[in-house]
Amino acid sequence: MLQRRFMIPLVALFCVLISSCKEDEIVEPTGDVSQAAVVMLKDIPADSSGTSGQFTYVRLRDSLLVSLSDSNTTGWDIAFRSTTIRINAGLSGPGQGGALVLHNCDFDTLSRVPATGYAVDSTARPATLGLAVPTGSGKGWYNYNPSTNIIAPIPGVVLALRTADGKFAKVQILNYYRGAPAVPSATDSPRYFTIRYVYQADGSTDVQ
């Protein structure tokens, strides 16, 4: 007994619904990416026991983990302790380091890092808790997911880095868990950084 006059608006309604669900085509980026100079460092422990309170100091030039006793020298560029990152300058060390957090930036295609505008770890910048790479979810390099307790690097965050000796590099944090699992879970061990970077030894800002 359903009459035609009821069917017309019903059909129209479903047409509207279906058309509103139509999705745009998603285009993935293409083009060659030179990976020649990219260095990958896996599972850098960053106070991995969670109790020592010590940073792990890294020198980019030769991908070396610098011993703790050299922490007050210009022998390191970037240091990790849990989610906190320090750069060798200002409050953190005697170097000429600095960092710039670049957002929505494709590490693969970033050819030049800025020459100026680098932030230095200091107590004078309280809005970002004093560090060139701020801590806190959504503020610096990571997002914290309270429902899964997982720390994940923010997609598109690249650190433009000035090293302790005034050279430039681009650094990307890829993972915070041991073995760099693609989808970390609560059973994975945290406080292990996996990073990739391009270091420019000639003092220019070219990081391609």
């Binding site: 359903l2 745009d24 980026p29 990416v33 808790l129 997911n145 994940a152 923010i154 997609p155 598109g156």
Partner: protein, 785 residues
Amino acid sequence: MIEISYHRPTAHVSRWRFVAILSVAALCSAHLSAQSTGSVRGFVRGSDGSTIMDALVTLTGTDHRGSTDKDGVFFLAGVQTGTYTLAVRMPGYQPSNQTCSVVAGDTADVAIVLTDSRIEMQPVVVTGTRTERPYTTSPVRTNLIAREEMNRAAARDLRDVLEEQTGLAIVHDHGAGIQVQGLDPAYTLILIDGEPVVGRTAGTLELSRIAITDVERVEVVKGPSSSLYGADALAGVVNIITEEPRTGTDGLGVNLQSRYGSYRTLDLSARLRYSGSDVGASIAFNRKSSAGYDLTPASISPTAPPTTDYTISPKILVQLSPFTSLSVHGRVFVGRQESDLDLEEGGTLTRMTELSRTNDWSVASKIEHSLNASTTFKGKVYVMSYNSDYSLRAASSGALHSTDPFEQTYMKAEAQVDAVLTAQHLFTAGAGYVREAVEAVRIAEGVHRATSAIAFAQHEWIPTEALDVVASIRFDSHSDYAERLSPKASVLLSPLSWLKVRLSAGSGFKAPTFQQLYLDFTNPAVGYSVFGSTGVIDKLANLQAGGQVQQLLVDPSKLSLIRPESSLSFNCGVDVAPAEMILLRVNAFRTSLKDMIETAPVAVKTNGQSVFTYFNLNRVSTQGLETELTFKPGAGMSVHFGYQYVEAIDRDVLEAVRAGRISKRGSTGRLRAVQESEYGGLFNRSSHSGTFKVHYDNPGLGLSASCRCLVRGRYGFSDVNGNTILDDESEYAPGYALWNLSVSQRLPGRVTLQCGIENMLDKTQPQFDPSLAGRRLFCAVSVEY
């Protein structure tokens, strides 16, 4: 013009009045134009032949109105000649509209028979307008869940009842709550007999806390109702209507019910009813227990711990006079959950016993007095207290490890007047005062008290049979957050007998939580602080005086009272009944929420950590469509199909996506901006959900069967790719369908047997939804005397 209206005449007086009126009327008609006016006299009785006193009689389109006397007689004089519609209204009876012709100098005699609305079993709803209205013609769209439906599903508590409704998704966050029109459980107000139930954890009011032993029906109004109920009635209102004790001569009545099923779930319910001539009383008792279940046997803590809940609700109704009644409803709930877990502290595991205890009680007293046939006064005093404690003890020694007591008290005094001004104009107004107190560990000084004053008014205008307009507005003034004015307007259009269109626009609000208002917390390990909005200025000043503040990020003098989260909503519903056996109900909705409360830093401490407080920041909008189709082909069969589509988006996130400010790694591993089409909105919402139900009733055999299917489409579970938003296939939990079956058979001796299977296909998803228990069988017996 002469208007006659008299109230509750005694037999003695009424005769005299009647005579007096007749003489006055005669004089008047003689005095006025004898050629152009006449009178209407009538007799109103019920369909059982009883005379009906105090029925309201109105000549539509004129100022003539009156009410019937003890003998059911009314008289309207000085009426211009012509043909009129005589409208007769009496609570408890169906409205009558009858044509009558007035002849100059003559008296038209009419006889009116009113049909008892209870005999007709016309369902009544109360939530949408705070006054009783027939379900089918309520101007505010209401979903009604009848007792019959709860029995059919062998529902044990409110969670079971709401779970099978189209457009109500059960979600779990510190308890089972309902999502209405895409909004979280915190945005829906739960009422028992019109009074708010308090005691939420993280915004969720645990639905299984509410037993349904003496529940007559559940009404759900979707869309904001803050204009009548104030705070938290933003996404909707669920009003649980319990059965009121009756006065009359029924004597005693007893109901006994028990249900046993998988996971050793046992329900025992009893109801005792007494009905005297002026006093009615009832008491309902429910005990509910379950051994719980474990979907993850590898871990020590069970998925659902064993629980035992008790509910007792006594009620009394006293008819103080034919026009005055007093009712008192009480309710006591005691709940307990206990299980073991392994607590990790400093790298070592300790076996702990986790005990969660919840108690609440409430007393609602109401006095209802009919001032006259058209005006009713209701005075209410309501008190509810909720307390909970969550404790951990070492399983071996019993030593207390931690405890988290919480206590909340809510007291309300309220007066309401309902007036039928004319048959076209109905008016309701009320005012009240609320005192709340909360006691908890992390609250400043451990305890906080707040007060609020409320006033509301509603006007309903029914100019024609085809149009019903109702507008309401409420003012809430609270001591701890900004005051709030909530308006709402609804229109019911009935242009054709088979078509009803309901439109409504309204504003709702959600009160800030106790945490957002009163929290006083400093993390002992890390050193950051979070202060509720009421105390943040003083707390900051204290920190500054103590030299602990390195820099202020916000000028404290600029911090103002937090505003409640507020919304603007539109609903458009259409009911189409092309044939007796078919009813199609469609409702489209859209809600824009603003001022959602989030934390943000206000200062940096000398230890480098931040001081946070709460601000009105985010904006969210939801929209969707709900469809219900009921088909009754006859022979006791009934088929119901329901579907809901909903979109819920964070508007700030959407703006960021549109501006290309949020990135992800695409399928090739390369970085790119998230596309708008990939943004899936808020987590934990199924865009598509539905219900499919088939019922069969054979009253002759006493047999009834029902098969129900609940479908929940895929929903965003959690961020995986690090950008915090729902934008990737890997971030969805798969959808599922649950099939429930139940069969009941009435036996001689007023005994009914019922058996059923819930979740027939044994669907579980422990990694996404631990509350999804596996296949369950049950058997139930009920006896009624």
